[in-house]
């Protein structure tokens, strides 16, 4: 049984001999004094009733009354340790005061508009690091920011602890492409030089057959209908798959420029504890437009892979510069191979590769690597039939 009033306002423990407890409780009950009995030798009374209890129970020889207990008792025990109490009070006041201003502003959702520009606009709206929370109307700041910037379509300012999180959505560029005109009559022509492997005609007249070799621009499915089908023009529809032989080459110069790291500058240190982020250090006003932002996260573990729930996140802005360098023979082959693989991966992303033969040789400038590939792909493309009146 917990009595909150006892704990807060203080209580005393009265110890009596076994068998005396009911007698003492009856005496106090008749005088209207509240008490609490836990066991057969102890009863608890309120701190303020101690004098009257002492007087009422003075006939009991085994009476023992303890020092003040509870919160009040704790304070009264510390009454001579004023330094400690004043220190605790000062800490409490400091914590309350520290929660009043905005400590940090973090911008999210920006892609084209730099963070520093958003922070500058917020400052012009009267909101920034150092602004007082109770003095700021966040909805007013949002409205001002929206009216001030043409590139922002939506903004939301949230408070989390003493940090302001500004989430923005930038305006998307309007689609300037003109809509394609409706094609009424068309042919399907070959986009590459190839050998026809498969044809599926949905509408129109087939002009080639499987196994034919066609040149680029040659009509594959005609939009001119035969007389037996009624004649006239139509929009040709169908799929033509062709086999293409192609050669890809990649040249790498022995002497070239290489991008290297020039300077790495620490811009941000954040302590992540569970889902809370505490920003410890941040530099403002840095132009990081032509820099790479590198994020390093250091976790801590006690045993093996069991990580502790906090980590330190550091952000660096890295400036890069170009310097001349010379490739060795092995490096030349490696670089050429990598670049060729990347080009082939893009080219063959929607094709079926049938065969590939790769070879290379050193040239005066460096190294050339080539690949002869044979692949299947859709070769037909639609071209409009122009009607000359």
């Amino acid at each position: 049984m917990v009595r909150i009033d006892f704990l807060v306002f203080g209580y005393r423990r009265i110890t009596l001999a076994k068998g005396e407890i009911s007698r003492a409780a009856s005496i106090l009950l008749q005088k209207g004094i509240t008490l609490l009995i836990f066991d057969e030798e102890t009863l608890l009374i309120k701190g303020r009733d101690v004098e009257i209890c002492e007087r009422l129970l003075s006939t009991i020889p085994s009476l023992k009354i303890s020092e003040p207990l509870g919160l009040y008792g704790a304070f009264s025990r510390f009454q001579y340790k004023r330094g400690l109490i004043s220190g605790l009070l000062c800490s409490l006041i400091l914590v309350i005061l520290a929660a009043l201003p905005v400590w940090d502003v973090r911008v999210r959702g920006n892609d084209k508009i730099p963070e520093s520009a958003v922070e500058q606009m917020l400052l012009e709206c009267g909101f920034g690091v150092g602004s007082l929370w109770f003095n700021t109307d966040l909805s007013e700041v949002e409205a001002k920011l929206l009216s001030m910037s043409d590139g922002i379509s939506w903004v939301n300012v949230n408070r989390r602890g003493s940090v302001a999180y500004v989430e923005i959505i930038e305006m998307q560029p309007e689609d300037t492409e003109e809509p394609k005109a409706h094609i009424e009559y068309s042919n399907i022509v070959a986009e590459y030089d190839c050998v026809i492997e498969a044809i599926t005609v949905k509408r129109g007249r087939c002009e080639v057959k499987v196994g034919d070799t066609v040149r680029r621009g040659e009509v594959l499915i005609s939009g001119v209908l035969p007389p037996e089908a009624g004649g006239g023009l139509c929009r040709a529809e169908g799929t033509v798959v062709g086999r293409i032989n192609s050669t890809l080459s990649e040249d790498v110069d022995r002497y070239g420029l290489q991008t290297v790291e020039k300077r790495r500058k620490l811009t941000d240190i954040t302590l992540n504890f569970l889902k809370f982020n505490i920003n410890i250090f941040k530099t403002y006003g840095n132009d990081t437009e032509k820099c790479d932002i590198i994020k390093e996260i250091d976790g801590f573990s006690l045993i093996g892979k069991c990580k502790l729930p906090f980590e330190i996140e550091k952000k660096y802005s890295v400036e890069r510069t170009e310097k001349p360098r010379e490739y060795t023979d092995a490096e030349l082959v490696s670089v050429a191979s990598g670049r060729l693989e990347a080009r082939l991966a893009v080219m063959l992303s929607d094709c079926d590769l049938l065969s590939r033969k790769t070879y290379g040789h050193f040239t005066e400038r460096g190294y050339r690597m080539s690949s002869d590939v044979v692949y299947l792909t859709e070769v037909g493309t639609e071209t409009e039939i122009e009607i000359i009146p």
């Binding site: 009856s26 106090l28 009950l29 209207g32 609490l36």
Partner: protein
Amino acid sequence: MTKRTREGESLPKRRELSGFFIDGKRCGGGMSVAFGRIISIKEYSKERIELLSHGGRVILTGRRLSLSVYEGGTVEVLGRIEEISFTYGKN
């Protein structure tokens, strides 16, 4: 006690056992029962509590019984109460 009627007959006065009220509910330590108008605690142990009111006695038995006294003679007993019995009269 007796009460005189107009005709001179004496009738016994109606005695009320409802001199106290009981309010019980389940709680963390088992069960909590409050009794009003208690004038004395006759016996207290962890297993047995005997309370005295103007109308009679209340005897509670159980385990781990604790007792709390409030103003106005209200007594609350908390613990694993197994049996509550009432006896008529103070003795």
